[in-house]
């Protein structure tokens, strides 16, 4: 138990230092700071200086946690930061739910459950760090530290593109969720896109005054009708073959309804 408590300052410090570096040195952050919830809170002009200030505070707390001597105030400072994060996330969720938090650099991800879970985990770790005695590294505690670090990373939506997206890409490649079984009907949109490539459509499109009125199939052809002023334009599109020049068109004077 003592070992777990002793470990916390180091994991927290590593995470805070990394977040601080991204806030202080990332050029992308500068360009996207105006879209974060912080900009909503203090105005776009103050967003960058304030983000940098927060980054400096994180760096200071990280340094205090890492460097001897250790005192309960370090854990308290980390706890204060975590409480501040949670309050800021709460504000973001209510006032600017579509904005990113700007917590780990600038990759625009709106605040969600994972962000709250991450802040909550940091808060718990900070509380545990308050009474922390000096840390003596041994394998079980190092493994726990690693597990905590992984948990913090997994709860960071800003990092999804490094691991979650490739994982999903692999699953899609293996499972093929959108594979089409043979023998499915040809969607009408396939015929319409062939129509747009056809010379028949080029001659008639200036006369069309509506979107597609009616679509039906017969004898290997798909028929599509549009309004063309007072008349009706009808196209005949082959269902197989894919040759745009095979599309036929007629402009029809329909008899007035009886």
């Amino acid at each position: 138990m003592q070992g777990i408590v002793a470990l916390q300052p180091y994991v927290i410090a590593a995470f805070l230092a990394w977040a601080a570096v991204l806030k202080l040195f990332s050029r992308r952050m500068r360009s996207q700071a105006g879209q974060t919830a912080l900009a909503r809170l203090v105005g776009p002009a103050r967003a960058i200086p304030l983000l940098r200030l927060v980054g400096l505070a994180e760096l200071a707390v990280a340094a205090a946690l890492l460097l001897p001597p250790s005192s309960p105030w370090e854990g308290t400072a980390a706890e204060a930061l975590s409480l501040g994060f949670l309050a800021y996330l709460g504000y973001t969720a209510v006032a600017a739910p579509a904005s990113s938090c700007g917590c780990l650099g600038a990759h625009a991800q709106p605040v969600n459950v994972r962000g709250f879970a991450r802040a909550g985990l940091l808060l718990t770790m900070s509380l545990a760090a308050i009474p922390a005695p000096p840390f003596r590294p041994d394998p079980p505690h190092l493994l726990l530290g690693l597990a905590e670090a992984v948990a913090l990373l997994v709860l960071s939506p800003e990092l999804d593109r490094h691991w979650l997206t490739p994982l999903r890409q692999l699953l899609v490649r293996l499972r093929k969720p959108l594979a089409v079984p043979d023998g499915r009907e040809i969607p009408p949109e396939v015929s319409l896109r062939l129509l747009y490539r056809s010379p028949a459509y080029c001659t008639a499109s200036a006369r069309l005054t509506s979107d597609v009125q009616d679509v039906w199939e017969e004898d290997g052809l798909r028929f599509v009708s549009y309004a063309a002023g007072a008349r009706t334009a009808v196209f005949a599109i082959p269902l197989s073959g894919g040759d745009p020049s095979a599309v036929r068109v007629a402009l029809v004077e329909e008899p007035a309804p009886a």
Binding site: A98, R197, S198, S205
Partner: protein, 149 residues
């Protein structure tokens, strides 16, 4: 990546430029549009004849980067007028800038064709009112020619 200002001569400076046109919604209270707001100029409405342009400001340019696709475009600000002509049938519409977009660099090299006429790269986004003047909304993406009005 450093934000760089456009350095090549803009392709739209001396004459019309061909590219792709799509449509987007703004100020609409229904659907996924309801969180989009009134655009970068604060005046955008789906029912008005307006458009989004990739170079309305430095911040806009940093997002759209049409030069990455080979099409550097002139700086034009809110209210500036362009004429968009469909390469399919020749219908045209004159609109004024109300927003920043489209994100040209995310669709680099994409081509759209009508008949045998094709154009590449998304250079302009119209509101539904404007797009429906030159093409049906269900077409989604069309080749066009853009000129100053």
């Amino acid at each position: 990546m450093a934000r760089s200002k456009p350095t090549d001569p803009p392709v739209d400076l001396l004459g019309p430029v061909q590219g792709e046109v799509s449509w987007f919604c703004c100020g609409t209270a229904w659907g996924p549009c309801s969180t989009t707001g009134r655009g970068a100029c604060g005046t955008c409405n789906s029912g008005s004849l307006q458009h989004a342009w990739p170079n309305t400001s430095d911040a806009c340019w940093a997002i759209t980067r049409p030069d990455v696709c080979g099409d550097s475009l002139s700086r034009r600000t809110c209210g500036f007028r362009h004429q968009t002509t469909s390469l399919c049938g020749g219908a045209s519409v004159i609109t004024s800038i109300a927003d920043c977009g489209p994100q040209t660099d995310l669709f680099c090299g994409e081509r759209s064709c009508c008949g045998a006429t094709c154009a590449s790269n998304r250079l302009i986004d119209l509101t539904p009112a404007a797009y429906s003047r030159i093409a049906s909304l269900s077409t989604g993406l069309r080749p066009c020619e853009i000129s100053t009005a």
